[in-house]
């Protein structure tokens, strides 16, 4: 007998200081569709986010396809299989196009798939090359819902699909399409959990659950979804996605590069490099300051992903999220080389390479600090950058070392 696609085993979860789920258990087998319903605050979204590994557990464990993915001891293991996830926030990257957004989700699944027909069903096929930021709220919601369904649409194996208020913001026609697709995916053998107030969603359910009791029902039978995706491997996926995000949005140019240019401009405005030729330490400091500054600005990809909780979608799927490490080291090398020419009028490949690593390591540490606060309710309000001065002393030591070269 196949393992359940989802098991919540006696989980206890707090939100704030209140206990929302207490010794709650839920088993979703292949072909099940559990619809969670109830009043606001009863814990429907908490169940979805707990199943998606986004919330810490006070007690219990969560399993996907029989494998532990997280427990109350703090263990967090990448799910063996990708799963579909649509949260109340859309978790989209506004500066990407619909095509790019869906390509990333398909890549996570290790497949290649033309989802044009799906987009047409939701009446946004003509917008596939439009940026998500240019879509209406309802259209963005459609994209978010499709992202949640794709892991089921591209696989014949039993997959988990988690949908939190998927009908929210959708027009009636789109809700009907969604319901039909849920039927088809359920008949294919996927396990689906939906949190919804909308009574229309209940017709998909094999089980209705108000977090206290559960009722089983026999939904309509439909022909199962036809899988037409092909397998494809995507090596270094997160680095590539990060690179593509940087390249298509130019976010690193408008944040990191601009900061480096401003620093170089300020230094040039107050000091004549020729007049400082005696002081190697200061000149080397000027040379490495742009690289350091770029790192202090932080990982631009992380900044993009913080919009619309896209970082949470990635955290659910994997313990690593897209990064711009490659871009960091290249930018650091470029700007150190430029600064070296301006301030020292010479080229030393060792210093240039060190500049690249200064940017990379600084950016990595800033990203690490930001990731450590991503679970907080208001993570944009916490003053995490107050801790970045810790990097000044190591930078000064690097400058001192380079001055001695």
């Amino acid at each position: 007998m196949a393992e359940p696609v989802l098991e919540l085993v006696n989980v206890t979860v707090r939100r704030g200081m209140g206990v929302v789920l207490r010794n709650f258990s839920l088993t979703v087998n292949a072909g099940d569709c559990v619809v969670l319903y109830g009043e606001n605050g009863v814990g429907k979204s908490t169940v979805i986010e707990t199943a998606a590994r986004l919330l810490p557990l006070e007690e219990g464990a969560v399993k996907h396809n029989g494998s532990l993915v997280c427990d109350a001891e703090g263990r967090s293991v990448n799910p063996v299989n990708p799963f579909g996830l649509t949260l109340q926030a859309n978790c989209l990257v506004p500066s990407q196009t619909i095509q790019q957004q869906l390509d990333n989700v398909v890549a996570i699944c290790g497949k290649s798939y033309d989802f044009n027909s799906v987009l047409e069903q939701y009446n946004i096929g003509n917008r596939r090359n439009d940026k998500i930021a240019h879509l209406s709220g309802g259209q963005q919601r459609k994209v978010a819902v499709i992202c949640g369904l794709i892991p089921g649409m591209v696989s014949n194996e039993n997959r988990l699909i988690l949908l939190d208020e998927p009908d929210s913001g959708l027009d009636d026609a789109s809700v009907e399409v969604l319901i039909e697709q849920i039927h088809q995916l359920r008949n294919l053998g996927h396990g689906i959990v939906i949190a919804s107030h909308d009574k229309r969603m209940r017709e998909c359910a094999t089980s209705l659950n108000n977090l206290s009791d559960a009722w089983h029902q026999e939904p309509n039978h439909t022909k199962p979804w036809e899988v037409s995706a092909t397998k494809k491997s995507y090596p270094l996926l997160r680095t590539k996605i990060g690179w593509n995000l940087n390249f298509t949005t130019l976010v690193s140019v408008q944040r990191n590069w601009l900061a480096a240019l401003l620093v170089m401009g300020c230094l040039l405005s107050i000091a004549d490099p020729l007049g400082l030729s005696e002081n190697q330490m200061i000149l080397m400091g000027f040379t490495l300051a742009p690289a350091f500054t770029m790192g202090l600005v932080g990982d631009p990809v992380f900044k993009i992903l913080m919009e619309q909780r896209s970082v949470d979608w990635w955290r659910a799927q994997s313990n690593t999220i897209p990064n711009s490490y490659l871009e960091s080291i290249i930018s650091g090398i470029i700007f150190t080389a430029i600064a070296m020419q301006i301030f020292i009028q010479s080229t030393d490949y060792r210093v240039i390479l060190i500049g690249g690593f200064v940017t990379l390591i600084t950016s990595f540490i800033v990203r690490f600090l930001q990731m450590s606060t991503v679970r907080l309710p208001r993570n944009n309000a916490v003053f995490i950058r107050l801790l970045t001065p810790v990097l000044i002393l190591p930078w000064a030591l690097v400058v001192d070392y380079c001055a001695s070269l």
């Binding site: 206890t12 200081m17 209140g18 206990v19 207490r22 006070e58 007690e59």
Partner: protein
């Protein structure tokens, strides 16, 4: 600058800082205490002084 000037600036800054810090702590303490007294009087609830470890299954109610 004169040595004594440095000294004076340092000490004045510290006295002011410590004074403000102490004042905010004490006044906040007193303000909260009077607020609790008023709320308990309104609700006719006994003052709870227990300091307990919060068990996992405890609702903060």
């Amino acid at each position: 600058m004169e040595d004594r000037t440095y000294l004076s600036i340092a000490y004045i800054g510290m006295i002011i800082g410590i004074g403000i810090w102490t004042w905010t702590v004490v006044s906040r303490n007193r303000r909260l205490a009077s607020r609790i007294t008023a709320m308990e009087h309104t609700l006719k609830v006994k003052h709870d002084e227990t300091e307990a470890t919060v068990p996992v299954n405890d609702d903060i109610k």
